[in-house]
């Protein structure tokens, strides 16, 4: 089963929760960091890296000799990645989304597939755990295609359960990361910022119809607005992690908090039970629906 750990906002504790869950998962598990802009999960899991490959997007390269300057490629490109300037065809690879439209419409086959590096896909192992992450090249704007490639690898290597550390926010990268999950864990904190972004995330992910539960991190720090909202909307609270300086310090030392702070292991084991139960129940309902 696939579990996505998401949050409307960064810094609420997604990676902390992902790392703790992956560490105490007894069954075969693959930990996947899909926050390709700022992957951090490896800093806590310290996997032994077994392989790194580059991720590319296919971009057009112009064959000047064949080009008849008809402008068809420029006309189809929605991303302003191709222009005709003073009779010269100019391609701006960094603007290209790799849709392939220009190559498909060129009547002279004057555009040939080239490539732009998006970043790297890193694979590793730590004990019984498989590890996978994407890391976007600095200066590269397009995270979703690299995320897709990481997800493809995930399809090949994942044998047991999968824990996805999703990117922050509620825009397309975050949606993309949670879309195929069997259950989503929404990590939040009981502060006005946390609550505001939690609401956005709940609104964004609800239409996907995936079972969702909340983890309230730094509980006791702010007020109970998040808890009240969960009650009102029927969102189960699967775990509360108390506000505790010892946790912040353990995290700052790169430690997995379920191991480092007494009592938290049980909190995370309970969380795991809730996640698995929610996914299984949904699975059963799916059988009935079919």
């Amino acid at each position: 089963m696939i579990f996505a750990i998401a949050s409307g906002k960064g810094g609420t504790g997604k990676t902390t929760v992902s790392a703790s869950l992956a560490t105490l998962w007894e069954n075969d598990v693959t930990a996947v960091d899909l926050d390709v802009e700022e992957p951090n999960l490896h800093l806590f899991l310290n996997p032994e890296i077994t392989g790194t490959e580059k991720g590319y997007v296919t971009v057009p390269e112009a064959d000047e000799e064949r080009c008849v300057k008809c402008g068809a490629c420029r006309d189809i490109c929605q991303f302003k990645a191709i222009t005709l300037m003073a009779g010269t065809l100019l391609v701006f690879p960094e603007m290209c989304h790799g849709c392939g439209g220009c190559m498909a419409v060129c009547p002279e086959k004057a555009l040939i597939p080239g490539r732009r590096e998006l970043g790297e896909i890193v694979r590793g192992r730590s004990g019984n755990m498989e590890f996978l992450m994407g890391r976007l090249r600095i200066g590269e704007a397009m995270a979703p295609p690299l995320m897709r490639q990481v997800k493809e690898r995930m399809g090949f290597i994942a044998t047991g359960d999968v824990i996805i550390d999703a990117p922050p926010g509620v825009s397309c990268p975050a949606m993309n990361a949670v879309m195929d999950a069997d259950a989503v864990v929404l990590v939040t904190e009981p502060t006005p910022f946390g609550f505001h972004d939690f609401k956005l995330a709940w609104e964004a992910f609800s239409p996907l119809g995936i079972p969702m539960g909340a983890v309230i991190n730094r509980a006791g720090l702010g007020d109970s607005t998040v808890q009240n909202f969960c009650k009102e909307k029927g969102i189960p609270i699967w775990a509360e992690i108390p506000y505790d300086r010892a946790i912040a310090e353990a995290y700052s030392q790169g430690r997995v908090i379920a191991d480092a702070v007494p009592g938290l292991r049980d909190t995370f084991l309970k969380l795991k039970e809730h996640m698995v139960a929610a996914a299984e129940e949904n699975d059963m309902l799916g059988v009935f629906r079919a």
Binding site: E38, C99, C172, T191, G254
Partner: protein, 290 residues
Amino acid sequence: MREIVIISGKGGAGKTTIAGAFAHLAENAILCDLDVDAPDLHLLLDPDKREESEFWSGHEAVIRAEDCVHCATCLNMCQFDAIEFSIEGYSVKPFRCEGCKVCVELCPAGAIDFPERKCGHWFVSDTRFGTMVHAQLFPGEENSGRLVTLLKQQARQRAEAGGLDLVLSDGTPGIGCPVIASLAGTDLAVVVTEPTPSGIHDLERVAELCEGFRTKVAVLVNKWDINPAMTEKIEAYCRDKGYTLLCRFPHNRAAVDSMLERKVLTEYDPGGLGTLLKQAWKDTLALLEK
């Protein structure tokens, strides 16, 4: 006209807390929340919306089932896995569609429409610290660099019209498209970081991005006292790279308590933490003069 943007690489490092305080301290500035995905600055500044505009960007493909001839060209050509085939026929998954127009152009039956996409709203508001430009994307929309660029343009125009000489922006997390748009044309980036493995990792990545834009970098270490050794390490790194160290900011509940009261830190605790921030702001302005 000068532009300062506050970024962090990582979410939750304290960008908005610092941005709110700086907004209070700045004179002659237009304020701007560039985090269009999960904006939070409005929670502190309580803006009174003066203007509201729709944000439309790009297009999305929509298949007219009655005209579809089931040739699967769209399915085969789409590079974004956005075409779905089910018992009801072919359809487009809006979350995955990048609006590249390939399916629209290549559909032999001309059965695909390409309407414009409404992605969210943007606002110009009055706050107790002056005019603020901000936005909210609809959940699941592309976290658009275009919207960030639009906000910056608006902020600049309004600053010029109002005789103000500074645009102060709360930036976006990550290093991808929205941050790249945030940094374009910016004079100074204040990078808020934390002494954690993720904090330093993300600082390094986002600072490298700033260098690519020739944007000056100044660093503020938030919650420095949760890991003094790591703080030293960050500061050594900054000295080595020639980044200005603005201030060490302690781990303090006041940051959350002020948020609960909808105040910025310099209002909530002017004599204590406020003093630190006043000095940091003075030093930030001095950097603009260099």
